[in-house]
């Protein structure tokens, strides 16, 4: 049964997305109001440090669960959500976002590498442009903050808002990913890199051998992805999986595993300039880190038991809400 252009189920999902976006805006307005009401009094909204710790631990656990169920990294939800809906300075949020994305990735790396699912040759090959440009992105973030003041902050918010809305569209219309792409006519550059590998595919009970192609385009893509990751403090799994799977034609599982491991390498390079610049505060970073790791573990267990289709719509709603808020904030600060 259809209601006009969209099937009925889609209308419900769309409605749920709109309601969630409105709830997010109400939540942020509530925070802003409470902070304003606090006036010259301490603006902690009645939170003691220990309450703050557990509140952010809880929020991060939820983000971790939702992220795993929706097939994205925690950082890509954490950073826009915190920047859009809390008054905390964006430099601190981006530093913390990068840190939690790195932690989630490092925890996940071990099983992927032990099973041979993440291609180490691809990791070293893609890790170089990704790490270099992630560092450049982090340095650019510092430069913008130091030299451009409020205008720089506005542009960061505007840029991240547009990026996050773009990612939401990518999730909806990103095209069908191919589980085992058919690779023919490998270019000579990629052939020389010898990136082909094999791994044991548990679900099929056999060894899967695969090749990849278009490595030069992959290098360029990883430069851009690294820059965005370092600049905005988000993990970059949302961009890396399509690059591995749709551009370089790696199997979907290999693409997902390799991107997860690669985030840990690139974000490590990018996080240190933030740490050295005094942008990480343990009271904020530690509960977020622990919460996201716990949430990721819980989410991985839940994922085996439930259909996660709706969660993707939930993430789309969160991203549209955060993205729109960031764009509006950015425009307001520019004008």
């Amino acid at each position: 049964m259809t209601l006009g252009l969209l099937p009925k189920a889609r209308w419900f999902k769309l409605l749920a997305v709109i309601i969630l976006v409105m709830m997010l805006f109400s939540f942020s307005t509530g925070i802003a109001y409470a902070a304003e009401q606090a006036g010259s009094e301490p603006a902690t909204m009645g939170m003691s440090p220990i309450v703050f710790f557990f509140v952010f631990l809880g929020i991060s656990i939820v983000i971790g669960i939702i992220a795993v169920l929706g097939g994205v990294g925690g950082g890509v939800i954490f950073t826009p959500l915190m920047m859009g809906f809390t008054p905390i300075d964006s430099f601190i949020i981006r530093a913390t976002g990068l840190f939690v994305a790195m932690c989630g990735s490092l925890v996940a790396a071990r099983p992927f590498l032990r099973r041979g699912l993440a291609n180490v040759k691809i990791l070293f090959f893609a890790g170089l442009p990704y790490a270099v440009f992630a560092v450049l992105g982090a340095l650019l973030a510092g430069y913008v903050k130091t030299t451009m003041g409020e205008g720089g902050e506005a542009m960061i918010r505007l840029g991240l808002g547009i990026l996050v809305i773009g990612i939401a569209f990518l999730i909806i219309f990103g095209g069908k990913k191919v589980e085992y792409p058919d690779v023919r006519n490998v270019d000579s550059f990629t052939e020389r890199l010898a990136l082909s590998m094999s791994y044991w595919e548990e679900s099929m009970g056999k060894v899967v051998s695969y090749k990849v192609k278009r490595a030069p385009i992959g290098i360029l893509a990883f430069c851009g992805v690294g820059l965005i990751s370092g600049l905005f403090g988000v993990g970059a799994g949302w961009a890396m999986v399509p690059v591995f799977n749709l551009v370089m034609l790696a199997p979907l599982k290999v693409a997902a595993a390799s991107s997860k491991v690669l985030i840990g390498i690139g974000d490590t390079a990018a996080i240190w300039p933030y740490i050295m610049g005094g942008g990480i505060f343990p009271l904020f970073a530690v509960p977020c880190m622990v919460g996201l790791v716990i949430g990721t573990m819980i989410g991985a267990k839940i994922m085996l038991k439930i259909k996660a289709g709706f969660v993707r719509w939930l993430i789309v709603a969160v991203m549209f809400g955060s993205g729109t808020k960031l764009v509006l904030d950015g425009i307001a600060r520019l004008t």
Binding site: A43, T44, P87, I92, G116, L128, V290
Partner: protein, 143 residues
């Protein structure tokens, strides 16, 4: 083909994964312990003041000046000189976790040498050097 005959995962990847995982967990443990003590007994930065300023959207310069009483944001590995304070211990834990991939990458080089992957050894050593320079604070953000 039986599972026993499945290809062995590359040694470099296994070494990297193990080092990164355990070092991160060690860092998390130190960071959580440090944070618990910090919340209970305080540290360099006044926790209540930090919360006030975080909710007011204050930048790091303001936070460090008003809540830690320092004239400028400390650069580099500032926590090493203040390990008698709980938030510096928590920060040390964060730093240990953040070196996981750095140490892991140097460990992976051993695996690459043993498997005679000269070409990827060059890639890996450049990444390891970049990560190390970053962790040493040679690549840093000025305020």
């Amino acid at each position: 083909m039986k599972k026993d005959e499945a290809p062995k995962p590359p040694l470099a990847g296994v070494i990297y994964g193990e080092i990164a995982y355990w070092l991160l967990l060690a860092g998390m443990l130190v960071a959580v312990c440090g944070s618990a003590i910090y919340i209970h007994s305080g540290g360099i930065i006044n926790a209540t003041c930090l919360l006030d300023h975080l909710w007011q959207g204050a930048d790091i310069n303001t936070i460090w000046a008003e809540c830690a009483g320092v004239t400028e944001v400390p650069h580099g590995h500032w926590y090493f000189g203040a390990l008698h304070q709980a938030d510096a211990v928590a920060m040390l834990g964060i730093a240990i976790g953040s070196t996981a991939a750095v140490v892991g990458m140097w460990g992976a080089l051993i695996g690459l040498i043993r498997s005679r992957e000269k070409f990827y050894f060059v890639f890996a050593i450049i990444i390891a050097i970049i990560l190390t320079l970053s962790a040493l604070g040679i690549i840093t953000i000025a305020h």
